[in-house]
């Protein structure tokens, strides 16, 4: 068996567990923003991804992402069912066991489709959800992960994406936009009783996301080294600055700093720093967080202008934040711990080009495949619950349970 580094392995084992923890964190973050009659439905749409995506990842998803490169587009089938993984290492992560790499990447595969669920919350049939995220994982996530991390064409083009700004955040946001359009608006959109039902839950979820994001970003160094340290620092500072940016503009615009604003700004900052985490120094990290915090505040208003019902603002936070982060990575990249990668300010203006190509390609691919998938699912099993179920709430209608018995 090839030799491994015990420090790197220990760090990636912990990082994988941290990234898994983000998904129940996301469930709380989202569920608190919904109405009490849908709290279980929203939670389940994140939580169930830990079941279905994990199994799909082992059977097929991993090998399509990280099998040998076929034309820059997709991975080969040598790891179907994870055969041949144990006792080896992956070429892109030579100091840790292959099994740890599979699991670490699998946790990313879980949270990405879970992120999409915020767009169609409170109205999608559970059956449609299961089919959608299963197909999405295989047809959208695995190819995208291959393009960026599996030696595919975006990696060869030189696009910088440290921890998954395009693969995770832009891809999920583009799918979320497709879903918001394909599924349609909630019946109650615009009514006052659409307000969040449990913001303490949302804030706890945001805190768990922040905590788990250290595994997501620092772990993406795939080593316990200087790059991991700088990514950890950049991640934390961007989250903090994102919170300050959102709160500042909200306080100025509405006269009140809200708790949901603080949570949203922190998450926006984390989204924004994801592609840049291991490539930037502390001050640029704060600049990215602050910029993204402000832009996402305005980003969540896009949906009312364009009249799509992205219920929990996946587009406004992950789309706007992910895109801004990807571009700013091309601007600010350049840190002593990772000198190979340089952006505009470090004298490499050409880096902006692959960054923009990466964003556009990801949006176009994820949006179009997602939209077609949803239309096909609508044709065969239907996307929406009926009006009566939407009124009674999806907890009862879809799961035969009630979140709160008070």
């Amino acid at each position: 068996m090839p030799p491994i580094d015990s420090g790197d392995t220990a760090f990636l084992l912990v990082s994988a567990a941290l990234v898994l923890f983000m998904t129940p964190g996301l469930a709380l973050f989202y569920a608190g923003m919904g109405r009490s009659k849908n709290v279980l439905s929203i939670t389940m749409q994140s939580f169930f991804a830990m079941g279905i995506v994990s199994v799909l990842w082992a059977l097929l998803g991993y090998t399509l992402a990280f099998g040998h490169d076929i034309g820059g587009i997709i991975g080969g089938l040598e790891f179907v069912g994870l055969r041949g993984v144990n006792g080896t290492v992956f070429s892109g992560a030579p100091t840790i066991p292959h099994a740890v790499w599979v699991m670490y990447q699998g946790m990313f595969a879980i949270i990405t489709p879970a992120l999409i669920t915020g767009a169609f919350a409170e109205r999608l049939k559970f059956k449609a959800y299961v089919i959608f995220i299963a197909l999405w994982t295989i047809l959208v996530y695995s190819p995208l992960a291959h393009w960026v991390w599996g030696g595919g064409w975006l990696a060869k083009l030189g696009a910088l994406d440290f921890a998954g700004g395009t693969v995770v955040h832009i891809a999920s946001a583009a799918a979320a936009l497709a879903a918001a359009i394909a599924v349609g608006r909630r019946k109650d959109l615009g009514k006052p009783d659409l307000q969040p039902h449990n913001l303490p839950m949302t804030l706890l979820g945001a805190g768990i996301l922040w905590f788990g994001w250290f595994g997501f970003n620092a772990g993406s160094a795939i080593a316990a080294n200087h790059v991991a340290g700088s990514a950890f620092m950049a991640t934390h500072l961007a989250a903090a600055s994102g919170m300050l940016g959102w709160i500042a503009v909200e306080w100025w615009q509405h006269g009140k700093p809200t708790t949901l604003g603080a949570a949203s700004g922190a998450v926006a900052g984390l989204v924004g720093i994801t592609p840049a985490a291991g490539f930037v120094d502390a001050l640029p990290a704060m600049a990215i967080g602050l910029t993204v915090g402000v832009l996402c505040y305005f980003g969540v208003k896009l949906k009312s202008r364009f009249r799509f019902d992205d219920a929990l603002d996946v587009v406004g936070v992950h789309g706007v934040g992910g895109t801004t982060g990807a571009i700013l990575t091309g601007v600010f990249a350049g840190v002593v711990t990772n000198p190979t990668y340089r952006g505009l300010i470090a004298g490499n203006a050409a880096q902006l080009w692959p960054q923009i190509v990466g964003v556009i390609a990801t949006i176009a691919f994820s949006f179009s495949v997602s939209f077609v998938l949803l239309k096909v699912i609508d044709r065969f099993v239907g996307l929406r619950v009926d009006d009566d179920a939407e009124e009674r709430g999806l907890d009862l209608a879809e799961h035969a349970e009630t979140g709160y018995v008070l």
């Binding site: 006052p192 659409l194 307000q195 909200e250 009140k256 809200t258 208003k301 603002d313």
Partner: protein, 112 residues
Amino acid sequence: MKKIEAIIKPHRLDEVKEALGALGITGMTAYDVKGFGRQKGHTEIYRGSEYTVDFVPKTKIELIVEDDLAPKVEQAIVDAARTGKIGDGKVFTFDCEGAVRIRTGERGSDAL
């Protein structure tokens, strides 16, 4: 007998209960309600969107008293619930035609 219903600010409930206790009232019913009067609702802000909430949380209390006690109860509620700001609520008095204590079968004011 009279039935007194009062809609008050939730945080005045304890003061009202104590004031009525001082008058010798032996029981009452209280529950959380939502409603609006001249106070109207308020505005809440979520991710930059402003929601107007029309129904304001209030507490409603109900009790049945002897006729001669009713004006004192009415006044005690008014004094204890008043903050002087809009939204203090209202007190309503009705005639009550009958009462039975289920355990003993006592009727009328004996049942109070």
